[in-house]
Amino acid sequence: MSRFRDATPLFARRISPTLKLGLFLALSLALLFADHQTTVLKPVRAAYATMLRPLEWVAEWPSELSSVGSYFASRSTLAEENERLQKEHLLLMARVQRLAALESENMRIRALLQSSKRLSEEVLIAEIQETSNDPYRHYLRLNKGSLDGIYEGQPLIDAHGILGQVTAVSMLGSEAIMITDADHSIPVEINRNGLRTIAQGQGSDRLRLPYLPINADVKEGDLIVSSGLGGRYPPGYPVGVVSEVRRYPGEEFLEIYATPEAHIQHGREVLLVKQPPKISSSVAQSQERAP
């Protein structure tokens, strides 16, 4: 038995280092390709990263005990910083006091408003997951769906104004068209004088207000708000500001452009307004899909 064990094998069992190198190189390249082009390796990476977590904890230790930067901060700079912060604190405290007064005033005014408003709207926050890559299609994908009570045609606003409406709903997500999309129109009125019109999306970053007669009272800087006609959008929300009014003598209509109030290109969150439907949706559809 021991004779066999001691005997040197006829063929070397050990792989030559160069072959080994080639093998590992090939393996690495395959990994690189797979990791770059696909998501197959994600779970593997995540599992290994979890196993390596203790290593990171150890590494985070020193920076938690004391940040390295503060080692080098001298006493005088600290004192200076302290003084500056004290001043800032005082200033901010003064401002906060005023804020409290403003807040209570705001509450009172809001309460007044609420009582005069016929329907109060319920609002739901959704996150933008994706925007369309095509620059001429203005669509958003949201992370709330029918499970959260989202319905087709639900208006979408942000902190500054109307953003669009929901066009397709799945269980966990939804798709919304923005007011700037070329396929979208919204019934609006000029806030200053109640002049009714429609704001059409252009597929660019501005809206067009057609069908206003040449003698209509529209000026640059006029605020446009939703009129609520058609029943799709709640009335009174800001839609845009008139940015350009062109009068062509001899033409029957004005050419008016507006920039949307809502921050079309910015932000990650949108508000979905829930409102009881007032008019049958077919009427609303024909109103809003006007050419």
Partner: protein, 162 residues
């Protein structure tokens, strides 16, 4: 074969762990640029010192670990550590003859290869890179080799010839 060196097993383990931790520790920006490629250095050191124990697979695996910790593409650091280690293992007998300062100089092209592979794969996969700072690491790494040498060689025992 030349003489076999022996190091305690725990030293290999501890030094590799320490290299990873020191790589992960947050440093101010000017120091971070100078941070030597510790994992590479450790891998080369053990490849040279204990080839029967620390082979290409281990070097490759350390690279993969580095990739997971760094969030780089899987295989990027693996290749970058594997190749210099292979070359070092080929030069093993020569490197053993060299005095320390010559070893440091020999390390410059090895670390440069490491950096170049990282840089190259970054470029191919369109990840932004800060080129200028990357090359400083070569010199600091080569210099750090001497520190590593002084830290680790005291644990060496040379086996008696059979």
């Amino acid at each position: 074969m030349s003489q076999q060196d022996y190091y305690p097993d725990w030293l290999v383990f501890i030094s590799v762990l320490a290299a990873f931790v020191l790589t992960l520790i947050q440093l101010p920006e000017f120091l971070a640029a100078l941070r030597p490629a510790l994992v590479l250095l450790i891998a080369i050191y053990w490849t040279l010192a204990m080839p029967q124990y620390f082979g290409l697979f281990t070097a490759w695996f350390l690279g993969l670990t580095m990739d997971v910790l760094n969030g780089s593409l899987l295989g990027q650091h693996a290749i970058a550590i594997l190749l210099p280690c292979y070359i070092a293992s080929r030069l093993r007998e020569t490197l053993h003859m060299f005095p320390l300062w010559q070893q440091c100089i020999t390390l410059i092209p090895l670390v440069a290869l490491y950096e170049f592979i990282l840089f190259w794969i970054d470029g191919i996969s369109h990840r932004d890179t800060e080129t200028h700072w990357r090359w400083i690491q070569i010199l600091s790494s080569a210099a750090f080799w001497s520190v590593l040498f002084f830290l680790l060689t005291p644990f060496r025992t040379v086996a008696a010839r059979h």
